[in-house]
């Protein structure tokens, strides 16, 4: 039944936030051209990369994502003239915040993929999937969520023992 895709011990969960004018169309083009790429990514279609709120990314990590990919139109090509510039700046600031909080910034990919760049889309998805797979499960974030939770569980176990 299953063929073609190799199973690994750990399969990353990846969330994508993409602009509908470029990357989403690029992904559609990859489909129309029947290109193969890693099946881990689930994409959310947004009107512009400038619509991507950093809180979406945090929410995705909270939801168990091991990696998040953000992609928009190339600089100068934004359908709304300047939305992707806001996305770029926001990404720069947000990466620092993530790093400060102890999340590996390799788990957050930011790229420009135009509607014509189906090959680039598949390459980025494949590369990022492998990168996140190498990093392993995003346990760091889960620990961050509630630093006391694990201790509480442990102590209750201890007391039961």
């Amino acid at each position: 039944m299953s063929k073609g895709i190799v199973r690994h011990d750990f399969e990353p969960k990846i969330m994508g936030f993409v602009c509908k004018w470029c990357t989403y169309s690029g992904a559609d083009l990859a489909g129309t051209s029947r290109m193969d790429y890693s099946p881990h990514v689930r994409m959310v279609r947004l009107p512009c990369s400038g619509r991507i709120d950093p809180q979406f990314v945090i929410k995705a990590f909270e939801q168990g994502a091991d990696g998040v990919i953000i992609s928009g139109c190339h600089p100068g090509d934004c359908h709304y003239n300047e939305g992707n510039y806001y996305a770029r700046r926001r990404n720069l600031a947000f990466r620092n915040l993530m790093e400060f909080n102890g999340i590996d910034i390799k788990r957050l990919e930011f790229s420009w993929i135009s509607a014509a760049e189906a090959i680039k889309f598949t390459q980025i998805i494949d590369k990022f999937t492998n990168q996140v797979r190498d990093l392993g499960p995003n346990e760091g974030y889960r620990a961050l969520l509630d630093p006391y939770a694990s201790r509480l569980v442990k102590s209750s176990e201890e007391s039961a023992a």
Binding site: R7, G31, P39, L46, H79, Y80, N81
Partner: protein, 683 residues
């Protein structure tokens, strides 16, 4: 409690091959709020849509998910069907399980898992979709055409004859474009100007067409139906309405410079019309070269002008006009000769600046002024062969005016050459090279024409026959490339290879004609950014769909015609121009324009007037608004969105601190709901 219907499409075998659609439907049926699921072979077919409508009516659904192809394909189909069945169209969402799942993964287990996930995400999202109403808007039923070549002329005539007022903006002093430069056209050898100039005159005389020659578009604001164009009418130094086009000024003008229209092969006057049949027949003064402007000397033109319409103090005029639709027909130019071996400069294509000022452009290698003056390009040959050209239609070489006895034509210079030129085939060169050999053979009886070619591509009505005719008339076709051109006395030694015979060939030629590649205008990319349309890596403007929407640009209300969209010959350009015109007619045939309601709205209660949204809005659609109490006192200021200007990018939604402005259709709630359903299960 939501009542959601999920419709999983098998798309024949397209989805069903790698996705177990029954399993996806079963999984969806277990989600909270889902009251109806269906797994069907072709949801988009007539019976599929009927089943969709019936389910909405029978189960009184208040939200629908169609797990099928990309929303770009059938979102509109299902939204219309939902509307017909009495459900608000914006309560329908598409889960893309074909383009982004079944077609890209070949593992059924994994494909099914991903499809379930994508469907689940949409089920959660649709719960927060609000019923939205489309906006009705008025529109300005006037069309703006950018470029006055054959594409612009054809589109303008088609539109004006259908009753639409049209404005043509042309950067040169006359309409005509590149087609006016051609001597004769393939495959019928009819004279280009004879078929073009009557159309130009028709444009001039048409009551509904306004020609803005020697003008450029500076800025384009607005959106489909309501564009606002800022046009710079460059100073002609001649008062249009008084000029009779008598020609006294340019006859008496004592100064000359190289004529751009004649590919710098001949001089023109400083006050000039580009060619005798120019439309409008109003001359312009070339201020960069006119001594009146440089040193305040001369001024003869003003002295001889009968109607007294020369105005040296005229300034550029900025015109703001409103239009409902735009047709872009900016055309092409020929690639500069970058081949050192062909007498050009060896500057690689990618180092040539995309946008050049006049000085840089003048410094560009031109074959006529390069090391080998008798190596010319196709358009230069057209001017030599043209009856209105510098030699009056006799083919004489540029260096000494002798009739060339041997001419070598080299095809595919720059085309199909990814390393130094462009990857694509310029499509028209095979045909015009054959035409050139014929024109040459008709002009010089004892001449011999050689053609070096890679392949002959003559797909078109009467095209192959035309190539055969060229060969019958004496042109010798040699399959192979030319490695070098060397100067030998007053001749050019052409060193090449004949790959069919497997030998080296050397020909002593009097003149060499290069069929250089067709490329977009040098400023095409900057212009695309002015218009806000997308372009490909070469600078050709992208159509919305390569097969089914070949004249729509990526932006609504802007259409493409001619060689600015890709390489084309004249018949194709004319066909596309007419197609673009018919698209504009279609748009203007309606009384009002319906706009999608995916625009931002403000929660006035919570807005705390920080004006971040006003700062980021690229369309100036948000402005402060006063909130008054019942006595008319201003209580506070809040943001207010003009839905006519809002394009739905959502930048305001992201920056809003109090989350009191949101983009309908892409609200935070919807996105969070979608993320919450994310499981990312692999199998």
């Amino acid at each position: 409690m939501a009542k959601i219907g999920v419709f999983v499409c098998q798309c024949g075998n397209n989805i069903a091959r790698t996705v177990d659609t029954a399993d996806v439907a079963k999984d969806a049926s277990e989600q909270s709020g889902v009251v109806f699921v269906e797994d069907y072979k072709f949801m988009c077919s007539a019976p599929g849509q009927e089943a969709f409508k019936k389910a909405i009516r029978d189960h009184d659904l208040d939200g629908c998910i169609v797990s099928a192809c990309s929303p770009k394909m059938h979102e509109a189909t299902f939204r219309n069907a939902a509307e017909a069945a009495g459900l608000n169209p914006f309560k329908v969402e598409i889960a893309n399980i074909r383009e982004q799942c079944s077609w890209v993964h070949n593992d059924k287990e994994i494909g099914t898992a991903k499809s379930k996930d994508l469907t689940r995400m949409m089920i959660q999202r649709v719960k927060y979709n609000r019923p939205l109403e489309r906006y009705r808007m008025t529109m300005t039923k006037r069309a703006l055409i950018l470029g006055g070549g054959i594409a612009g002329i054809q589109a303008a005539l088609d539109l004006a004859n259908a009753g639409t007022p049209v404005t043509i903006v042309e950067k040169e002093p006359s309409l005509g474009g590149n087609m006016a430069r051609l001597s004769e056209t393939f495959p019928t050898l009819d004279c280009s100007q004879c078929i073009l100039t009557p159309k130009m005159v028709e444009v001039q005389n048409h009551p509904l067409i306004t020609i803005r020659a020697f003008a450029e578009l500076e800025k384009l604001d607005g959106y489909i139906g309501n564009f606002k164009a800022t046009i710079r009418q460059k100073a002609k130094s001649v008062i249009d309405k008084d000029c009779t086009g008598c020609g006294d000024c340019w006859e008496k003008c004592p100064f000359t410079v190289e004529s751009e229209f004649d590919m710098n092969l001949i001089k023109r006057k400083v006050i000039y019309i580009p060619f005798p049949q120019a439309v409008p027949t109003v001359p312009v003064i070339d201020r960069a070269n006119c001594p009146k402007f440089l040193k305040d000397k001369c001024g003869i033109c003003a002295d001889v002008c009968g109607p007294d319409c020369i105005d040296f103090t005229q300034e550029d005029e900025i015109i703001e006009e409103e239009f409902g639709a735009v047709i872009v027909a900016t055309g092409f130019e020929l690639m500069p000769n970058v081949y050192k071996e062909y007498g050009g400069s060896s500057m690689p294509q990618h180092l040539i600046p995309k946008k050049m000022n006049k000085k840089q452009r003048a410094a560009q290698p031109r074959s006529t002024s390069g090391r080998l003056p008798d190596v010319i390009n196709g358009l230069e040959f057209e001017r030599l062969a043209s009856a209105s050209g510098p030699t009056g239609g006799e083919i004489r070489r540029p260096s000494d005016g002798k009739k060339p006895k041997t001419v070598v034509f080299i095809a595919c210079v720059g085309s199909r050459d990814a390393s130094k030129g462009v990857e694509y085939c310029s499509k028209i060169c095979c045909m015009y090279t054959a035409k050139h050999t014929m024109l040459y053979n008709h002009s010089v009886d004892d001449g011999k024409a050689y053609v070096f070619y890679m392949d002959i591509r003559a797909g078109g009505k009467g095209y192959e026959e035309f190539i055969n005719r060229a060969q019958d008339e004496g042109a010798e076709y040699i399959r192979g490339r030319v490695s070098a051109l060397r100067k030998k006395g007053d001749k050019i030694l052409v060193k090449g290879a004949d790959t069919l015979q497997g030998c080296a060939v050397e020909i002593e030629a009097d003149m060499v004609v290069l069929a250089t590649a067709m490329v977009p205008q040098a400023d095409a990319i900057d212009f695309a950014k002015t218009l806000g349309i997308s372009y490909d890596k070469h600078g050709f403007y992208s159509e919305q769909h390569p097969k089914l929407m070949p004249v729509d640009s990526s932006t609504g209300g802007i259409y493409l015609a001619g060689a600015c969209q890709g390489v084309k010959d004249v018949p194709e350009t004319v066909a596309q121009a007419s197609a673009a015109a018919s698209k504009v007619m279609q748009l203007f045939s309606k009384e009002e324009l319906m706009r999608e309601p995916e625009v931002a709205i403000v929660d006035k209660e919570h807005c705390m007037n920080c004006w971040d949204c006003v700062t980021v809005c690229p369309y100036l659609a948000i402005s402060p608004e006063e909130v008054k109490d019942r006595n008319g006192n201003v209580v506070k200021m809040v943001a207010n969105v003009n839905p006519g200007l809002c394009q739905g990018c959502g930048l305001c939604n992201t920056v809003c601190r109090s989350k009191s402005i949101e983009l309908q259709g892409y609200t935070d709630q919807q996105v969070y709901a979608q993320i919450t359903a994310f499981e990312g299960a692999f199998v």
